[in-house]
Symmetry: C2
Subunit: 187 residues, 2 copies
């Protein structure tokens, strides 16, 4: 059960933004522009970075839901997702994505973990400044979403098939704020 009085049975961050729609609105807008807006990185690659950071933060809800979205978006290449999350060699990924995932892993540990060599390696693998920016911000944003979801113990479904359905919805519709506010800030 969640630590605060959020709607029953609503999984993950959806229950939290229904509890507090004022902060939910910019959180969903951030997810939408960061994972679906114009970027040199495909939505599939951005979902993979989100799933990877969530995996490293041991946030089961975010890992499973964004991994499911990445599988839908990659289509035939969906085996990439499972290989990466099993901590096996991501050798099927491009050099650029390998360098960006190493960078995301540094950001997950802490902003000060990133070194000039990490940036040089990403540039050498073909990453632009916008690739690097978007990777760092996705890794930073999931360091937030993961803490928000787990720090309030929001509902994490155990059934894998629920994530498949979530992943389909996320890949098709993106991030749309759920309605049904359930509290006032006076409580």
């Amino acid at each position: 059960m969640a630590y605060i009085n959020v709607p029953d049975g609503v999984p993950g961050i959806r229950s939290l933004v229904m509890f507090r729609p004022e902060t939910g609105k910019p959180l969903y807008e951030l997810a939408q522009v960061l994972l679906r807006g114009p970027s040199p990185l495909s939505p599939a690659d951005r979902e993979l970075i989100a799933a990877y950071v969530s995996h490293r933060n041991e946030c089961v809800f975010c890992r499973n839901s964004h991994a499911a979205a990445a599988r839908c978006l990659y289509g035939d290449g969906k085996g990439i997702v499972d290989e990466l999350l099993k901590d096996s060699d991501p050798g099927r990924l491009s050099e650029k994505m390998q360098a960006l995932l190493r960078l995301a892993g540094k950001v997950q540990r802490g902003g000060n973990q990133v070194t000039p060599d990490d940036i040089t390696a990403a540039h050498a693998a073909g990453a632009t400044d916008v690739d690097i920016h978007d990777t760092v911000l996705i890794a930073a944003a999931f360091s937030m979403f993961n803490r928000y979801v787990d720090g309030l113990a929001s509902y994490t479904p155990a059934n894998e098939s629920e994530y498949d359905e979530m992943g389909r919805r996320m890949s098709q519709n993106g991030y749309v704020l759920p309605s049904r506010p359930t509290h006032s800030t006076n409580q």
Copy 2:
């Protein structure tokens, strides 16, 4: 020098949102509603939580700027900020704020670090569900902002007086997106 080609001499997150205003907009909207919108926590208390988390993440820019904003907002009680950031006993704070800061410190380490006992202690000290929600989200959001600012090595002024000026502006105007976009996503 920052790791990507942001405007010269613009400190911290401002340079990053000028580079990428698409993601800057929801980031500033989140900061505004989370730190200045309606909440049972005062803006001063919310800035203190932000400064505390940034301090623990060793993010000098965010720590110094949000500490300066908290000093302005507390007015006569501004010694509280310096005491807390020197890791001394925050005995001058209310029981509720002490419990919420302990909770924020757990979230800074990771969402799964929070235990039911942390929530019980916060409730026992008078915190409502909204106090707890806002504390967890502030701590999570600064786990993002800190990683964003340091992960891209944005400009961190060394001169303390620059933070005093920033703190005054943040306490008076809140969080307003700077203009002057400097790139297109095609680069």
